[in-house]
């Protein structure tokens, strides 16, 4: 069976390479049958990889320890859901899984475009298959998931206990979806450059893919943060670890693209820039995989390290060279006539928004690679840790937040004093009222204060937009307020979906600012019956409880939580000791309210003295980060929902559409 798996992967690689060649030659020689053959080869690649994934999954579930991969990442006692998750828990499997998702998306793209974008499609197929071939090549030649052990192991060495968490089922797949789907806009971008069809066609085709990719990157980042918060037990959710940065950078650039593409659609400007952003987003996803998988930069995520680094660097260079070369080659055709007439305009607000988003991405990139740079230049190892990233990114982030209140309402082309007043009187008032309230509440001046004040300004902008849209419909069509609001959103889904996403971003900013600036942290060693104070909570240590099963044993401190004379909760911060591999993990006890999280960690327990050390954190407003994520999800669904016109077009036979296009 192992050989069958290997064979499937090898054949898939052959098919992928054939697809690349057939598509490229077919496009250059204008041979339709070759182009079709390329597409069929792509489908075949997908089929073979599905087969390989199924085989690996079967081996995992059957505990076939004659496979090195199965023996390294699972055991007979590992719960089934983590046995499935082991598919992407180790390097070999994760690269196969990556190929699988990429080929799944490629297949969807090919099916979607059987009758559309025929001029672009050969190059789209070729590009997607080059990327597939790269990953399949790694799986075939470097990290074989079907590698056999000389003698089958009796028992596996199990998945890393840190990964044995339900987030393992959610976080890596979302991030993969986000990473991998960035390949689709990239492929269309390359196709546009290759064919010289540089208009809006490729952008309109990939609009939803870009949003899809961005959305799953958003989720992937947030799920990662939640995972860290719940599992690592240090009271925070983001440590600026290289791999976290690797997921954050493409998100930033992708966000920049989603904004600047609007300028291209409306004003036919920034074609080169948008192309650069698409290529950059994709390159950063490859860079991210490189960071995760190469171990070049030490990281808590480097669960496995390997010699993959050079291959990724090589592939990255190839991407940059080819796409950079194509852009330069097409530069004359990419130039557009659109101009910016004033600094006080929507166009320039978007330019500065892009500047800041890409600037933050650069700052993160710079901080991530600086240790390597320092070692090259000075031969000295240094650390670029959270204090650096926080200090550098906070001002840029707040400036970005501020712009979020400006961009959506400032006039296109050139804002006059009159329409500036009309656009900003409300938001500025909202910001000022917020500032006064913050002063009255005694919030100390600083980054968090500024974030809250900017947040009020941005919320003013958003509420005003919804209000005005609704009032206009009410006045014109005599609709009732809820109907008018629903219809104004329904008629302009992208725009209002975007505003809803902005509300989510404000919530996230507020949550991050509050929880980083006003976190309360107490650490005490207690005897049974003793208490400690954290913020407004009194925590009484009652006793320890222990439990054991075949997989691990656990130890929990029973803490009763009091506010004043009222006992509001009993919490159980816990340590788990896994048997294979022998490793302790922290199970945080968390009590979440809209106002704050009480977050308890069992630091240590001394069986002789029966003393426990408890770390208690009070993290204000942290839940708003996750609520923000939920709001962003709603906003994305609103923005991505097909409009009536699109649904009608989709319902029409594609052949008719093609006929109409040729007419």
């Amino acid at each position: 069976m192992h050989d069958l798996g290997r064979l499937a992967v090898c054949l898939a690689l052959v098919c992928a390479v054939f697809a690349v060649l057939a598509s490229a030659v077919g496009a250059l020689r204008r041979r339709g049958e070759l182009v079709r053959a390329g597409e069929h080869a792509a489908y075949a690649t997908f089929g073979l990889v599905v087969f390989a994934v199924a085989l690996l999954l079967r081996a995992l579930l059957a505990h076939d320890f004659s496979l090195a991969y199965v023996a390294s990442y699972t055991s007979t006692t590992l719960p089934t859901q983590y046995t499935i998750a082991a598919l992407w828990g180790g390097q070999q499997g994760s690269l196969l899984f990556w190929s699988f998702i990429l080929l799944l998306f490629s297949t969807v793209v090919l099916v979607q475009n059987r009758e559309r974008n025929r001029d672009l499609m050969p190059w789209v197929t070729a590009t997607l298959m080059v990327v597939s071939a790269f990953f399949l090549g790694l799986v075939t030649f470097i990290t074989d998931p079907f590698e056999r052990l000389p003698r089958p192991a009796l028992e596996g060495s199990d998945l890393n206990p840190l990964l044995q968490n339900y987030w393992m089922m959610i976080h890596p797949p979302s991030l993969y979806l986000g990473y991998v789907s960035a390949s689709v806009p990239f492929a269309f971008g390359i196709a546009a450059l290759a064919t010289g069809k540089l208009g809006d066609q490729w952008i309109r085709t990939t609009r939803r893919w870009a949003l899809f990719s961005w959305f799953f990157l958003t989720l992937g980042n947030l799920f990662g943060a939640m995972w860290a918060y719940e599992v690592l037990g240090w009271g925070g959710y983001w440590a600026w670890d290289p791999v976290e940065n690797a997921a954050f950078m493409p998100w930033l650039v992708s966000t920049a693209y989603l904004h600047s593409v609007m300028i291209q659609e409306k004003k036919d400007m920034l074609r080169v820039w948008n192309m650069v952003l698409v290529l950059l987003t994709f390159s950063l996803t490859i860079f991210g995989t490189f960071l995760t998988r190469s171990g070049v930069i030490s990281s808590v995520h480097s669960f496995t390290q390997s010699g993959l680094g050079p291959f990724f660097i090589g592939f990255l260079l190839l991407i940059l060279l080819v796409s950079g070369g194509l852009i330069v080659y097409r530069l004359p055709e990419l130039r557009t006539s659109g101009t910016i007439e004033s600094f006080l305009s929507r166009e320039s607000a978007f330019l500065f928004n892009n500047l800041l988003l890409v600037g933050i991405a650069f700052a993160v990139f710079w901080g991530t690679v600086f240790p390597v740079l320092s070692e090259w230049v000075r031969g000295v190892k240094i650390t670029v840790g959270p204090p650096f990233f926080n200090r550098v990114n906070a001002p840029l982030g707040i400036a970005l937040l501020f712009l979020m209140g400006v961009g959506p309402v400032i006039a296109w082309r050139r804002a006059s004093p009159k329409n500036l007043w009309r656009a900003f009187a409300g938001p500025v008032l909202s910001g000022l009222v917020g500032t006064v309230l913050l002063l009255l509440l005694g919030v100390p001046l600083g980054g968090a204060f500024l974030t809250f004040a900017c947040g009020c300004f941005v919320m003013g902008t958003i509420v005003q937009e919804f209000w005005r849209g609704m009032r206009a419909r009410q006045a014109m069509l005599k609709e009732r307020a809820p109907v008018a609001l629903a219809r104004v959103i329904g008629k302009n889904r992208r725009r209002y979906g975007g505003y809803i996403i902005h509300v989510g971003i404000v919530a996230i900013f507020v949550g991050i600012a509050a929880s980083s600036a006003f976190q309360v942290e107490v650490r005490e060693t207690l005897e049974a019956g003793e208490e400690m104070t954290a913020g407004r909570y009194r925590l009484v240590y009652e006793r320890v409880e222990s439990a054991e099963d075949g997989h691990m044993h656990s130890l929990a401190a029973v803490m009763s939580v009091w506010i004043g004379d009222e006992r509001i909760a009993v919490m159980h911060p816990e340590k788990r000791f896994y048997k294979k591999p022998e490793q302790p993990t922290t199970e945080v006890a968390k009590r979440t309210t809209l106002r704050e999280d009480l977050y308890l960690v069992l630091g240590s327990f001394d069986p002789q003295t029966r003393l426990v050390t408890i770390l208690a954190y009070v993290n204000p407003l942290v839940v708003w980060i996750w609520i923000g994520g939920l709001i962003m999800t709603i906003g994305t669904v609103v923005a991505a929902w097909p409009t009536l016109v699109e649904r009608r077009v989709a319902a029409i036979d594609p052949a008719v559409v093609r006929g109409a296009e040729h007419a």
């Binding site: 009271g235 500065f352 600086f370 650390t383 204090p387 302009n492």
Partner: protein
Amino acid sequence: MIRVALLLAVLAAGPVAAAPATQQEVEESLTCQCGCGLTVHSCNHIQCSSAEPIKDEIRRRLTAGEDKETILAYFSGKYGEKVLSSPTMRGFNWFAWVTPFAVVLAAGVAIVVVVRRRVQVRDDAPAPPPGGDPALRERLERELADLDRDDA
């Protein structure tokens, strides 16, 4: 816009702490050497063989009246520069701090220059007849407003 951004940057950086360093502050300036990748302050490994002794040492030195700089210099000497959780502001490390802002500023200035040049080019162009046709003006306003629509 840039001025606003700069002002915000300055404000966001906040007041520079002049108060004596706290235990937490020093712990956050040091990286745990156990391989967890977190700061000494954040590492919560049970009886971490790296973070715990470092925390004790910091406590001892703070009680003895040493300031943050001296303590950091001590640890830097003991473990090498990599123990510091962010680069120093000296020598080559200075680039770590300055480059991101320099790049953003330079790009911002470039945008300003390019936009301003284009604005001037347009200003030099023959001006449209003053006042203009009110109907045309109205149409222009309407079309500009239409830019905000999804299907525009």
